[in-house]
């Protein structure tokens, strides 16, 4: 077997250090010149429960997880509570080996820790190995680690073994360890790394062909997650205040910001609940500081009422929503895209907000910046919608992507000088909510500015902010506020926030939003290679919707398949609602089992859809177009 890409999966229990080991592994390969992409899977538990991370690496850009994987490092769940076959959740101890075999590709490589895993416990192991032509390298990683350091260093032993089998230069791991480990544990780790590496080379006759591919980068790369880039985008826009309450997976952005803000003289507040969190961000913003808050589904639900107040009072704020599978507590650590309608419409009254859904780690940085530009430029709340997948996946991005000027501009605000000539009402209230504002954007004054005082209220109000129920005032103010979205639409049109994939002309379209973009891109490429005529679009602007661009896209194809991670086809519904037609052209490919799409699932779903057949995989669902 001669794969030109590596899909390495490290599996163990929660608490076994899978995340940090895989992060270093990905970084090592990035430094070695490869493009990398990680996909993580973990249960909602602190200790125990089967968890894995996949690192996909190849010489060309990688934008998605692969189909299955080709190298397994199974460590054994050292926190398994009840290692018995008839236990309620099954024998957790052997899961890192047992549960990963179904997705291991033919000809794949297996390294497992005989210190905890016994292949006799895995039904039909020998037979499956033979049938699938797997290459198995059992090693007592635990013992090696214990003999040369401490048992917890077995991950290092596993990496050493992998490196030997795949031909990865140990130098990259050594450097990474030296950068992150204190002297005391560095030495034994290095020793274990080399010892296992050499042991594997001596002890085993290699029967596999899989080797790490060679590659090189023409410019410096950095390895980041979507959570990193959302936070960095905020910081580069001069966001210096965050308020939040922990909830997976939003906690990552909150954590990154909370660690960075004190270093740049900003403020982070962990508060009593998400209602408070959103309200604090608004209070700080009102007082003149660029601010954000965020949460995941349940916490975001609590923010509904403050969000409506932000719309009505035109208090700029950026809220991020990190989706996880719902309803309710759902699958707390698994991705889904089922909060789209929630963030579009939650809170009473007509929605008057911007919702952006970045598709990749790099886009998340740009759109996080755009979110602040729009919020402060238009005095409107902006929601950055992403999910557990995008938030947690690591990807290499050129470092130069982040080499941009900071933008602390507070947007549509007055200066004290401007306030001197600005219209005021009787009693001296500044006309904060002017009827005749350009593009509907009436600049705000900041408390403390001389001549700037006015009233903010969630009630309908007149130019000075006073409660006013006069019908003409009502219509004028409603229309002014709603018209801001027209300006936002124009602003976004200049920024090319939608991502087009594949050829310009094609018979079929694949449409997706948010984090599935990279996977759809890979599917588009494969379909074209297989002789289909397909182009794709990854949509980021949820509100205001890119009506012209999507109309053109849909007019140019015969049929289109909408790929999204939810059960009710929310983005397809939005598309039909916004465009008012195309119901007969749009079909859906849905997935809501807690795992993101694999490219092959989209390929298969597409092929089934054009042939009018059922989708072969029971983990995805096909919903035909109206009238079919």
């Amino acid at each position: 077997m001669t794969d030109h890409e590596l899909m390495w999966r490290i599996a163990g229990g929660s608490g076994d250090g899978i995340a940090s080991t895989s992060q270093n592994f990905a970084k090592a390969l990035m430094r070695a010149g490869l493009h990398v992409f990680t996909h993580r899977h973990y249960p909602s538990r602190i200790r125990g429960g089967h968890t894995y991370t996949e690192v996909r690496a190849k010489p060309e850009p990688v934008r998605s997880r692969g189909d299955g994987f080709n190298c397994l490092l199974a460590l054994g769940d050292s926190f398994a509570r009840n290692p018995q076959e008839d236990a309620y959740y099954g024998d957790e101890e052997v899961k890192p080996l047992a549960e990963n075999l179904d997705e291991l590709n033919e000809g794949g490589v297996i390294v497992y820790d005989t210190g905890l895993l016994d292949s006799d416990d895995i039904p039909n192991f020998e037979q499956r190995v033979e049938e699938n032509n797997w290459h198995v390298y059992p090693l007592n990683l635990r013992e090696i680690a214990r003999d040369h350091g401490r048992e917890v260093m077995r991950n290092t032993a596993g990496v050493g073994a992998t490196a030997a089998l795949l031909g990865i230069d140990l130098q990259y791991f050594e450097e990474l360890m030296a950068e992150s480990m204190p002297e005391k544990i560095l030495e034994p780790n290095i020793e274990i790394l080399h010892y296992t590496h050499d042991l594997v080379e001596e002890e085993f006759e290699f029967t596999h062909d899989l080797q790490v591919p060679e590659g090189s980068h023409d410019e410096e790369q950095v390895l980041l997650s979507g959570s990193d880039t959302i936070a960095y985008g905020a910081l580069d826009e001069g966001c210096r205040f965050i308020a939040g309450y922990p909830m997976t997976p939003w906690t990552e952005v909150f954590t990154i910001m909370s660690q960075a803000l004190p270093e740049v003289g900003g403020i982070s507040e962990q508060v009593e609940d998400e209602i408070a969190a959103a309200a604090l961000a608004m209070g700080a913003s009102h007082a003149g500081v660029k601010s954000m808050s965020g949460s995941s589904g349940g916490g975001f639900a609590l923010m509904s009422e403050p969000l409506g107040l932000a719309e009505m009072s035109e208090t700029p704020v950026v809220l991020v929503e990190a989706m996880r599978a719902g309803p309710s507590t759902g699958l707390p650590t698994k991705p889904e895209q089922a909060d789209l309608e929630h963030v579009l419409y939650t809170s009473q009254g007509d929605s008057n907000r911007v919702v952006l859904a970045p598709g990749t780690v790099a886009e998340a940085y740009e759109q996080s910046r755009l979110a602040f530009q729009l919020a402060y430029g238009y005095n409107i709340p902006v929601i950055l919608l992403y999910d557990q997948k995008l938030g947690g996946e690591l990807m290499n991005v050129p470092a130069s992507h982040f080499d941009r000027e900071p933008n602390p501009d507070l947007g549509a605000v007055t200066t004290e000088e401007e306030l001197e000539d600005a219209p005021h009402g009787p009693g001296g209230k500044f006309h904060r909510y002017r009827y005749d504002a350009e593009d509907g954007v009436s600049p705000r004054s900041i408390p403390g500015q001389k001549g700037g005082h006015f009233l903010v209220t969630g009630n309908e109000h007149n130019p000075a902010g006073h409660i006013d129920e006069d019908p003409t005032n009502r219509v004028t103010q409603m229309e002014r506020r709603m018209s801001k979205l027209d300006g936002v639409r124009e602003f976004l049109d200049d920024k090319n926030t939608q991502t087009h994939m594949g050829p310009e002309e094609a018979d079929y379209g694949l449409i997706t939003f948010g984090s599935q973009q990279g996977t759809v891109r890979e599917a588009v490429d494969r379909l074209n290679e297989a002789g289909h005529s397909v182009k794709g679009i990854g949509v980021s602007d949820m509100m205001p919707y890119p009506v012209e661009e999507m109309t053109a896209f849909l007019e140019s194809v015969d049929e289109a398949l909408v790929v999204e991670m939810n059960a009710s086809g929310q983005f397809r519904g939005l598309t039909q609602k916004e465009l008012g037609r195309f119901g007969d052209k749009l079909s859906s490919l849905l997935k809501y089992n807690g795992e993101p799409f694999e490219p092959a699932e989209i390929v298969a779903g597409f092929e089934a859809s054009i042939e009018g057949q059922d989708v072969p995989d029971q983990q995805t669902t096909y919903v035909p177009a109206a009238g079919d």
């Binding site: 408070a276 913003s285 007082a287 500081v289 009787p426 009693g427 005082h453």
Partner: protein, 312 residues
Amino acid sequence: MSAFSAIGEEREIDREEFTPTLEPQATWCPGCGDFGVLKALKQAMPEIGRNPDEVLLVTGIGCSGKLNSYFESYGYHSIHGRSLPISRAAKLANPELEVIAAGGDGDGYGIGGNHFMHTARENHDMTYIVFNNEIFGLTKGQTSPTSPKGHKSKTQPHGSAKDPVRPLSLALTSGASYIARTAAVNPNQAKEILVEAMQHDGFAHVDFLTQCPTWNKDARQYVPYTDINEADEYEHDPTDRDAAAAMASEAEQALYEGEVLTGRFYVDSDRPSYSEEKQAIGEMPEEPLAERYFDDDYEWERTHDLLLDRHK
């Protein structure tokens, strides 16, 4: 140079500056205690030397929430129960502002109760006025968290089976560093207490008894009242925490027995404010953050320089 020249402006301040010249005229019912809060607040302002452009008055929803409609200053009439998280963040963003939050007993002790507890715990340097009329005024007379046990209303036809919230004790256990109760019928004390509360460097909670003649007809007008710091029978020392706990408890009970005990229950001038605490651990800048956005010379940090190395 500050971008906020209203702050700290040295000039005589007239209480009429806080009165809207024409409209809106207060829409409260005749005899409503809310007028007393408005008046006391306007009187207190010149004494603390603050002008309308450096005051941020954040209110909740209720008859009480209309306070900033009739008071000239920066105002934020927010949503039910949420005046505290909005106002305390504004104070963090610009500590030089005079920040006041206000709302009803339902607003502050019911729907916003969680924020009350946490804002007090954190000891933000701000004043919180609760218009305590022991009723939901704006929604037409339902039983509120401070209504007495047995209180009958349209939504509690058989009388409330609940003991009322004890606002002063709650403030004390939560960590408020200034706790007082006053009454609309007691304008001089009310003004003095508001002055002290605003001058206090920490979270000042004022439980302001405001009669609601419309929905709480059988309730007292909160007269006669006794000043616990002055009356011979109490001579309460508000710096004594244990005494404050006992006094708060007694006053809460007494109110339901027809006796109105007002004054300063607790004053702790030594406890650092939240901003001071945060600054001490390096989590808040010394200069008001809000100024930075108007400072053309400020060198804004870039993540490219600051944070990217760890990803290489």
